[in-house]
């Protein structure tokens, strides 16, 4: 073992340029793998965050009815799964807002801001001078309604509905969700306000939930909740509502995986062919070692160690290169693409590179063990 390792080291050091080229080859492969992995991971996280990060990921409703005993439902649901990050009741109705001659169709949503802010992050999205609704009939409107209705903070607007009585709201602020539909139509207020409009007592229309592991929504958490609560409730998840987004995300993961696999395959092929040539270059040395009585297994070990050493140094330099690439990409590209990587991902990349390099040395190693002293002497 020790001798094989030392011979491997000397062989690599004796042809420094060739060794350096292989190490650089592995390093480039590793760095590309890290770069692409981190970039696609980041894109995915950011896509998930923008599409479902600020909305309900699991929603509980009661078919054709409002939920009256929602306190009990909240506590039952919350205790059903460890994956629940935030749970909040909301109540929604619709109608139109009127200011002078202007009128807009809107959705009125009543929230409990202590918990709902964790999902929707309203406080981050308020425009300067705005504040969240505090008491009954205070509302905050989507920023687009400001111009279409011609109103300011402090304005009083009229809520009209075909079903319910009209009433007046005081505008205490505007929010900007960067989503046109929401900015055009959402009017957020307290739960009390909407309950007052509907006039059915202490009821809500939805229970909204955000999760720690969003991809567990359908197959894990939904089932856990379903076991605890009564059948009269309907549970829907972001996954069932966004099949195309999900298949997009899966497609992205698969393409990232494919790219990484092909990078590794090319690294393996590169090392394998270079080491195969090394076996030929070192056949004279192998012949003399075998004449002196080195066993075939130990002779093979020399090349496995060579592969491993190349992999270790390739991985180290590759990680540094990869981090450098990511750094220069985020610094100089001018884009705002987030990058996601952690020590685990780096360790995995390094581990794969080392394992792949050692594996790549397998065929040269077998070749070296089959080489006989006779062949070497005849070809000398």
């Amino acid at each position: 073992m020790k001798l094989a390792f030392q011979i491997a080291k000397r062989f690599l050091l004796a042809s420094k340029r060739q060794t350096l080229v292989i190490i650089l080859g592995i390093a480039v492969g590793v760095s590309v793998q890290i770069f692409i992995g981190a970039l696609i991971g980041g894109l995915q996280d950011s896509l998930v965050d923008t599409t479902i990060g600020s909305r309900s990921q699991i929603t509980i409703t009661k078919t054709d009815e409002l939920i009256s005993d929602y306190d009990e439902l909240l506590s039952l649901t919350e205790s059903s799964s460890n994956n629940i990050r935030v749970i909040t009741p909301t109540i929604t109705t619709s109608g139109s807002l009127v200011k002078g001659e202007n009128s807009e169709i809107i959705v009125v949503r009543g929230f409990d801001y202590n918990t709902a802010d964790d999902i929707y992050k309203f406080s981050e999205k308020l425009t300067p001078g705005s504040e969240l609704p505090n008491t009954t009939n205070e509302v905050v409107l989507g920023i687009n309604l400001k111009d279409s209705l011609g109103i300011e903070i402090g304005s009083v607007v009229t809520f009209d509905s075909a079903v319910y009585e009209s009433r007046s709201f005081t505008v205490v602020g505007f929010f900007d969700f960067a989503v046109k539909e929401i900015n055009n139509s959402w009017t957020i207020t307290t739960i009390d306000t909407v309950q007052g409009i509907i006039n059915q007592g202490d009821v809500v229309s939805n229970i909204e939930i955000q999760l720690n592991e969003v991809f567990d929504a359908e197959e894990v958490t939904k089932l856990e909740i379903d076991e605890q609560i009564s059948d009269e409730y309907t549970i829907s998840t972001w996954i069932s509502e966004n099949e195309s987004l999900l298949s997009g995300l899966q497609g992205q993961s698969t393409s990232s995986l494919m790219i990484q696999i092909f990078v590794i395959v090319s690294v393996v092929l590169g090392i394998s062919s270079t080491l195969a040539i090394t076996v030929l270059q070192k056949s004279k040395q192998l012949g003399i070692l075998k004449a002196m009585g080195i066993k075939d297994g130990d002779a093979s070990l020399i090349f496995l160690f060579e592969g491993m050493l190349l992999g270790v140094f390739g991985a180290i330099i590759g990680i540094l290169l990869g981090i450098g690439l990511l750094y220069s990409f985020t610094t100089f590209s001018g884009t705002d693409i987030p990058i996601t990587f952690d020590a685990g991902f780096l360790a995995m990349s390094a581990g794969i590179a080392i394992a792949a390099s050692t594996l790549a040395a397998l065929s040269p190693a077998i070749k070296s063990s089959k080489l006989t002293v006779m062949e070497v002497i005849r070809n000398a």
């Binding site: 000397r10 070692l289 009585g293 006989t372």
Partner: protein
Amino acid sequence: MPSILSLKKVSKTYGENTKNPTKVLFDVDLDFEESSFNSIIGQSGSGKSTLLNIIGSLDRPTSGDILFKNESLASLSKNDLAAFRNRSLGFIFQFHYLLPEFTAMENVLMPYRISKREITKEVIERADELLEIVGLGNFKNKLSTNLSGGQQQRVAIARSLINNPSIVLADEPTGNLDSDTTEKIYELLRDINRKFKTTFIIITHNRTVAEKTDRVIEIKDGKVYLDISK
């Protein structure tokens, strides 16, 4: 003197399973005595190198057997043969075959390290002594590629002796050296033969060289043609 190595009806055919098998050795019987100094001569193509390779267990005979200290080598596995070579044989080749990545000293120690024993102070002293004997005491830390042809061959001689082998096999050990160096190398081999009682079997095509040995075996057409002892 007792026999150290015997060949019993050794034949070798190359390409046995092809249309034109070539028989290189025909029922060769030979005995080598302990501490003897032998040469094998023959034209190229006579089968002398094949004979040396079979004696050195680098190649197996097609039929017949080789006895080392009355033990048959035929039944040994590849790994056992490797261990046998490491322990009991020393090789000196025409092309010096030092490991160019290692120093003279490291090359001399290589057969010892292959045997997987711990490097001790004694073995380093022995390597030092062997390098002194071949006149390279001052060159032990030089990379072998920085040595001249004659120096490399002397390192190879020191290396062949490190494990105290019973037999040293030399294939044209001075084949590509000038005549002065050739003379010195043979004197060296002869000294070692006397000092360590090592059996030498030297292959050469040079009759003047062969005549310096105690026994000359001439191989012709795969058979022992002449066998003269002084």
